[in-house]
Amino acid sequence: MTLLEAADVRKFYGDTCALDGVSLRVDAGEFVSIIGPNGAGKTTLVNVLTGLAPPSSGRVSFKGVDVVGATPVRLARLGMARSFQLVTIFPGLSVADTLAVAALSRLGRSARPFTALARDAEVRAAVEEVAVLFGLADKLGRLARTLPQGDKKLLDVASAFALHPDVILMDEPTSGVSTADKTAVMETLVQAARRMGIRAIVQVEHDMDIVFGYSDRIVALHQGRVLADATPDAIRADADVVATVVGRPR
């Protein structure tokens, strides 16, 4: 079942064409990686898919619904979540409050003006569930800005997971994480996704060990176009794609 689909998407910034006729499909159960050199249009594609930047032309659908022009809020309600390339947190909120923002949003309670948040057992349980999965359970009371960089990254991703989305798009989930910790972070993400029933993962990633180690399918972008869309083995076997995107033979 196709969850997310982009068809012939173009995105211009002034005269610059960032995406030129990109088509992409993400099916349930897939882990898709988007790769490409700097300036290939990876982040632009994620921004278009997640409603942060409307496409100049083309179609984007999510679970069969046309979502061109949909706001990130609507997409979140439809079941799409994202994390950002740079660590994006609420510096002055605690870990628990950060996760609670997402849990409240999922439960449709964000706008309640007079119910006591501290007494909401369902929200507390949701916060604890995600915190345990991401190893943040002992840091629930800490302000986000006081966390080590690696934990900030985890919190950023964990808050997106707390929406219990069908699809999550992660822009460089291991950026800012030490090389030694990258695999551990990915294992945490994949395990969390499995336990929370997330149906598909899309990631933008530069680390090819991570890309080839975890992906079911790889979409290679180059100068705003899809250069290849294939399994890791097929990508590995294509010397031209490897040379263009990775820059060295694997």
Partner: protein, 315 residues
């Protein structure tokens, strides 16, 4: 612990003050009650949501003029009705004004609110037939809880029934605001203050919630304004003037915007300080400017930051 003890002592002092035979000090605190309510609203906008309004006086004036129109033109003397009408008027005005303002943030939001405040000031100043122009409009003594209390002279009315009435309204306003900031909506507003893009990606309707905060702040401003004009018996255009908005921001910084009771403390200290400094020198504005500079530079968390230093400083 110390803050709680000081808070309880302050509450006791406020309750007993009218009985201490200090009518001047008691009367002096009345505007502080009105300002404190308005500041609770302003702080929902600034301290909680991260939007600094330089036009909050618009809503204080709106409340003041609602009281004036109802009591002196329409013969409605019930203060409960006046307060409800002030709140309703604030919703009607803040809705469209907020829709425009919350599309912007930072200095653009501040300047837009300032512009709307000055528009309202100009309206009050120029539309003489409607508003009384620079002479303002009289605010007649209201009826409290259905009791006219006409046997009391002005000082006895203000330092007795009205004092406790205003204190009760302030207490109610503080309880409502306390509940609101501890609610899911309060957390959503704080998330917007911290990182609006992140909040939006987590499904928080940033613009809608900013508008909600704007309207609630306006309601508190108008209710505070309606109480503010009762002791003076006058609503005049200066209530909406930009310097009045500046005073509100001053009070907020003085008390501390990252503490729930900062606005209340700021209002009380500002009024008492203004009274003292004005009696000492005619250059009181100069002195107030210096005080504000010292507070911002050396005590960015305001007076509440001094009383409650255990909380982490604002980023």
């Amino acid at each position: 612990m110390i803050v709680r003890a000081l808070g309880l002592a302050a509450c006791a002092a406020l309750l007993l003050l009218p009985l201490a035979g200090l009518p001047y000090t008691t009367t002096l605190l009345l505007p502080a009650f009105g300002y404190a309510i308005a500041l609770l609203g302003l702080n929902l906008l600034f301290g909680t949501t991260g939007l600094l309004s330089f036009g909050h006086a618009l809503f204080v004036a709106l409340g003041g003029y609602t009281a004036a129109v109802l009591t002196s033109r329409l013969g409605v003397r019930s203060l409960e009705i006046v307060l409800l009408a002030a709140a309703a008027t604030a919703v009607v005005v803040a809705g469209p004004v907020g829709l425009v303002c919350v599309r912007y943030v930072k200095i653009y939001f501040g300047m837009l609110t300032l512009a709307f405040g000055m528009l309202f000031y100009s309206f009050l100043y120029k539309f003489y037939a409607l508003t009384g122009g620079d002479e303002g409009m009289r605010v007649l003594r209201p009826v409290l809880l259905g009791r006219p209390l006409e046997h009391l002279d002005t000082v006895a009315f203000l330092t007795g029934p009205f004092y406790y009435y205003a204190l009760a309204v302030l207490t109610l306003a503080a309880l409502v605001m306390r509940r609101l900031v501890a609610s899911p909506l309060g957390l959503s507003l704080r998330s917007i203050r911290e990182n609006a893009a992140k909040a939006e990606s987590l499904g928080v309707s940033v613009r809608r919630y900013r508008l909600a905060a704007f309207v609630v702040a306006a309601v508190f401003g108008a209710v505070g304004g309606a109480l503010l004009v009762v002791p003076t018996g006058l609503a005049d255009p200066l209530l909406a003037y930009w310097t009045h908005s500046g005073n509100l921001v001053f009070m907020l910084l003085l008390g501390g915007f990252d503490h729930f009771f900062g606005p209340v403390l700021g209002a009380v200290v500002f009024i008492l300080l203004q009274d003292q400094v004005m009696s000492l020198t005619s250059y009181w504005r100069f002195l107030f400017g210096a005080i504000l500079a010292v507070v911002v530079i050396f005590f960015p968390r305001g007076l509440m930051g001094l009383l409650d230093p255990r909380r982490a400083p604002a980023p």
